[in-house]
């Protein structure tokens, strides 16, 4: 399967996950959005050597995966995009920061190794959080939450329209590249002679499609703003969940919980 059809499958998969049913799916989108942002901010704000304190933050995604019933496997599949870049930056740390920070038996672990591991964990945690947000919240609900946050309607409508059109475009590109490759076997990409015309043809057709789209929108009474499907209610329980989560993140950020927990048993 080529890259385009892969993207199409991934897109549909996320849509299907967001359409499932769970307490997390039923929660107000704005609260989910804000808690996710707070989580990411707290995670990345940990000190670069604070590996042990950071570990507590794993509890939030684990709890959410359990509540929502979303398979963790789908999320880890997405890590392949994020991890290489984070690793590429982090991998240099062990070379430049060689001061030993910790000894495991007689093996010295340098600051660079610890900061590299911390960086990777931060990358994984941040990805899990935003994955959980999008896997439990349909796009129109996210757009509704953005409208509550007073993001301009032009931008939100554009986001929603583009989102709708991406799957159409992906299908179109997938069909085109399949047709191209059937006629040009043993060729891995698009040949130089077709660089301009391949996407150019699609572009011209898309412009006509945009015209038709606009006309149909106008016939249905579009005047610059969409009406979003009714979002779930903002219940006191949801607000409590949000406040509780943020309080836990703050506690974990400023108090080294694993350390405190360990002290209970060791001393």
């Amino acid at each position: 399967m080529d890259k385009v059809s892969h993207a199409l499958v991934e897109f549909r998969e996320m849509d299907a996950l967001a359409a499932q049913e769970s307490p997390l799916h039923r929660m107000h989108p704005l609260i989910k959005l804000l808690v996710t942002l707070a989580y990411i901010v707290f995670v990345v704000s940990f000190d670069k050597y604070a590996l042990s304190a950071l570990i507590v933050m794993v509890l939030y995604p684990i709890l959410l995966f359990q509540i929502s019933g979303i398979p963790v496997r789908t999320c880890f599949y997405k890590l392949r995009v994020v991890l290489p870049l984070v690793c590429a930056v982090g991998l240099f740390n062990p070379f430049f920061d060689r001061a030993p920070l910790l000894f495991v038996g007689s093996v010295a672990v340098s600051g660079g190794v610890i900061s590299m591991l911390t960086l990777m964990l931060k990358g994984i945690f941040a990805l899990m959080a935003s994955f959980l947000l999008i896997a439990t919240t349909p796009m129109d609900q996210i757009c509704a939450a953005l409208r509550i946050l007073r993001v301009p309607s032009l931008l939100v409508t554009l986001l929603l329209l583009t989102y709708r059109y991406i799957s159409v475009m992906l299908r179109e590109v997938s069909v085109m590249s399949e047709a191209y490759h059937l006629r040009a076997p043993k060729q891995r990409g698009i040949h130089v002679s077709a660089w301009g015309s391949f996407l150019g043809q699609l572009l011209l057709r898309s412009m006509d499609r945009a015209d038709a789209l606009y006309q149909s929108m106008q016939l249905r009474g579009f005047h610059g703003e969409f009406y979003y499907a009714e979002s779930p209610r903002c219940t006191p329980g949801a607000v409590g969940y949000g406040v509780g989560c943020v309080a836990f993140f703050a506690l974990a950020r400023y108090v080294d919980l694993p350390q405190a927990l360990g002290n209970l048993f060791v001393r």
């Binding site: 890259k3 897109f11 996320m14 990411i40 704000s45 000190d47 050597y49 590996l51 042990s52 570990i55 509890l59 684990i62 359990q66 870049l85 930056v89 240099f92 740390n93 430049f96 920061d97 060689r98 001061a99 030993p100 920070l101 910790l102 010295a108 600051g111 610890i114 900061s115 990805l127 935003s130 947000l133 301009p152 032009l154 931008l155 554009l158 986001l159 329209l161 583009t162 989102y163 991406i166 992906l170 990409g189 040949h191 130089v192 660089w195 015309s197 996407l199 150019g200 572009l203 412009m207 945009a210 015209d211 606009y214 080294d256 694993p258 350390q259 927990l261 048993f265 060791v266 001393r267």
Partner: protein, 354 residues
Amino acid sequence: MHMADALLAPAVAATMYAASGVAAGASVHELRKDENTQKLPVMAVTAALVFAGQMINYTIPGTGSSGHLCGGMLLTGLLGPQAGFLSMIVILAIQCLFFADGGLLALGANVWNMAFYGCFVGYYLIWRPIMRGKLFSGMGARGAGRAKIILASLLGCVLTLQLGAFSVVAETSLSGITELPFGTFLGIMLPIHLAIGLIEGVITAAVLLFVYETRPELLRDIGAGAGAESRTSLKTTVVVLALVAAIVGGGFSLLASSNPDGLEWSLFGNAEAGYSENMGLDEDEFGVTSSAADRAAAVQEKTAILPDYAFSDSDSAAGTTVSGLVGSTLVAAIAVLICFIGGFFRKKHKAAAK
């Protein structure tokens, strides 16, 4: 070039969000002025097209590798800076949300690095001056238009990608994420993105040229109505373009290699300072004078799992490590417990549903 959340400190991320937010606000304000809602579907469809178009592999002749499209310049040429910028924001947001390409917190920085430079710098500094200028006027209206598009696409992609790569390095360094020295990191990023920019520029030029040949009215700032004269085939143009790119690229790489390589330099610099001798973890000498060790020592006092174990003779330090490890294990146990409870309730739920 998509940055992940982990590569940014919250303060830097917030600053970039603010900067991108101002640019987005100004763009929305500008677009609202003409009150033309017709542009909205065009923007959405073009954004979706660029999103899908970036996944097409273009074979680079003579090599086994492939290049991709430069979204910012293409959108600028088709929609103008403001509409192009907003379309790029939407593309980056969807890439981040659905494909984990870039992070939610890093979105502001990614918008700045890719969309702002690509659309605003690309348009006001490159696209518009070149299109309105009298460049290549000896080649006839059609030929001049073609040459201008090629020049603008190439220059635009190279410049905006260089600016973007520079910003990535600056933001990562300001966030204190990497130990890689600023100059070295820059020395790695810029040449890579020079090559990428040249290839993206050629592909973008090819697509824009096709649009120019078939429907020039779709492009910004190009005087339509020029007669068809001196038609050169697209293939010839692309070949010439690739040659120019190769020459420019070769020139740049000569320039770059006459300077000492950053990574090499920094490693040598460290070796001269006696750094390499210390690799055998000679603790008596190592760490006493090194600034890295001083910093590390300061951090050790604050953090739990990384105690002053190696340098101190107190027993409490050992205890600190052990309690940190025990605590972490307990956290892991709690995590496993949550999984079990979750599994139990879901099974029960399924059983109830049956």
